[in-house]
């Protein structure tokens, strides 16, 4: 079961769309577990939130073994700086773990038109699938049409696909099956 936890206010329609699509993508039940407060401890002096800390400190919800928690927020996230610089943070996840975080800060504005809302929802779904994929041990994929392609890649179109490619889908299905047994 995937449990969606919001750390900022989100439109119900967006969450409903997300739940439906996640169920279709992973074949796992999805449920909205409600809103929780944003852990202020994770905030850095520059106003951004440390992605690792935020995910660690996010308040838990009641869940069973094999359940995955997906936290949604709209604050700007920061990754630790690497040898070549700081990769842009669209979210975070514990590889093979049970918690993932997605931030909508870098998305295009939701807007009020049907088209812009649709694009926003698709992007939200794509990033959610991406970080949930990490929970099932998926790595980044070189195929720009796959949801596991890095979120900042220049090869990614403005309105990217939110499906997994054949390899990643097979791998995630295997993991999910193993978890169920």
């Amino acid at each position: 079961m995937i449990r969606i936890v919001t750390l900022s206010p989100f439109d119900e329609g967006d969450i409903a769309f997300l739940s439906k699509t996640l169920y279709r993508s992973f074949g796992v039940g999805t449920e909205n577990a409600g809103e929780r407060s944003l852990p202020r401890k994770a905030e850095q002096p520059d106003g951004r939130f440390d992605a690792l800390k935020l995910l660690e400190d996010a308040s838990p919800v009641r869940a069973f073994a094999d359940d995955k928690l997906l936290y949604l927020t709209d604050v700007e996230l920061a990754n630790p700086k690497g040898p070549l610089g700081e990769p842009p943070a669209w979210g975070h996840a514990v590889q093979g773990g049970d918690r993932a975080l997605v931030s909508t800060f870098r998305f295009k504005p939701r807007g009020v038109t049907e088209a812009s809302i649709e694009i926003y929802r698709r992007r939200l779904t794509r990033e959610s699938i991406h970080f949930l994929g990490h929970l099932w041990d998926l790595h980044h994929c070189y195929d720009a049409r796959c949801a596991m392609h890095p979120s900042w890649s220049p090869a990614l179109p403005d309105d990217p696909e939110f499906e997994l490619d054949a390899f990643c889908r097979d791998k995630s299905e295997r993991r999910i099956r193993l978890a169920k047994t």
């Binding site: 690497g82 070549l84 590889q95 980044h140 070189y142 195929d143 890095p150 390899f167």
Partner: protein, 350 residues
């Protein structure tokens, strides 16, 4: 007496020879102590938990016990095998930095021959250290930009990426997902970002049989011609060729002088053909011209007019054979002379 080697022993020595010493390779079990973190090639990062003795088939054997950090799986390695399986220490932060500079550098030449690529990749994963793993990831990633990877290589790409992520996360002490972000940040930086790259470390040099490696262009050409197989010494030919070239020039001049009124086009074509064909049987070739008419008459008549220049390559093999069977020689020269024969005829008619 004939010394017989058992297959097992032979394999072992070959493997020992093949494994080049990547940085941090553990040469003997005495280098290991409990708590050490090591990388088992193609497996991942392990932590040494200590030595263990076991009775197996009536023998008391000593093993190094290691636990895989990723999933807690235990592995026992016989003490004598520690040096041969390619265990190495986890890469240092400096090594890892070099890896990122390597990943960020441009890569223009993915290996297109899948057999060579597969062998190289497997060898790199086993013996190339962390940079070898990065090479596999980078190589397959570059190839994936040209065309989608086949299923086997897609799996290899995924597993080598997994190994690299694992080692980087252990070495830099960051979560796996962040380590992977670092890798992809170097491989495909976001638009408008310029990476502060330094010259990358030199790639791992693989030690393998020579047929695995790429040959330099010059030697490939030689092989293509198959001159060695025919027993032809290239140097000797070059010398002869130079001499003949001069001779042919002279002869061209001579020809030019004789039929002064001939077109330039006609001269150009046969000259080339002569330069290619002449070398090996230099002197016998000269006398051939005067003989033109008698032997080649049948063959010469149809081909000459259509394609005089194209057969340049085809012309190469016949001269070689000429040494063995001179009977075939006459075939080429007539081509040159056939056209002149026609022209004067036309001229006469006119």
């Amino acid at each position: 007496m004939i010394a017989v080697r058992t297959p097992g022993r032979r394999e072992r020595t070959e493997k020992q020879e093949e494994v080049p010493s990547a940085g941090g390779t553990i040469a003997s079990s005495s280098d290991l102590k409990a708590g050490d973190r090591v990388v088992y090639p193609k497996q991942g990062v392990y932590r040494v938990t200590g030595l263990e003795q076991k009775d197996i088939a009536g023998q008391r054997l000593e093993f190094v016990k290691m636990t895989r950090e990723e999933n807690g799986a235990s592995v026992l390695v016989p003490l004598g095998k520690v040096a041969t399986i390619g265990l190495r220490r986890v890469a240092s932060a400096d090594d890892i930095e070099g890896v990122f500079h390597y990943l960020g550098a441009t890569y223009d030449d993915p290996e297109l021959d899948w057999k060579v690529r597969h062998r190289d990749n497997v060898e790199r994963l086993i013996a190339g250290g962390v940079l070898g793993v990065a090479e596999v990831v980078k190589g397959l990633h570059s190839l994936s930009r040209l065309r989608p990877l086949p299923a086997k290589e897609r799996e290899l790409y995924d597993s080598s990426r997994h190994l690299l992520v694992n080692e980087i996360s252990v070495s830099l002490d960051v979560p796996d997902v962040i380590a992977e972000d670092y890798i992809d940040y170097a491989l495909m930086p976001p638009a408008g970002v310029k990476l502060p790259l330094k010259p990358p470390p030199t790639p791992v040099e693989l030690k393998g049989p020579p047929w695995k490696r790429k040959k330099p262009a010059a030697s490939e050409d030689d092989d293509d011609l198959g001159l060695a197989e025919l027993g032809i010494d290239l140097r000797a030919i070059e010398g002869a060729g130079a001499g003949e070239a001069e001779e042919s020039e002279e002869s061209e001049e001579g020809e030019e002088k004789k039929p002064a009124g001939e077109d330039e086009e006609d001269e150009g074509v046969p000259v080339k053909a002569a330069a290619v064909k002449a070398p090996p049987p230099a002197k016998p070739a000269k006398p051939a011209p005067p003989v033109k008419a008698p032997p080649p008459a049948k063959k010469a008549a149809p081909p000459p007019a259509k394609k005089p220049a194209a057969p340049a390559k085809k012309a190469a093999p016949p001269p070689a054979k000429k040494t063995a069977a001179p009977a075939k020689k006459p075939a080429p020269p007539p081509k040159k002379k056939a056209p002149p024969a026609k022209k004067p005829a036309k001229g006469k008619k006119k």
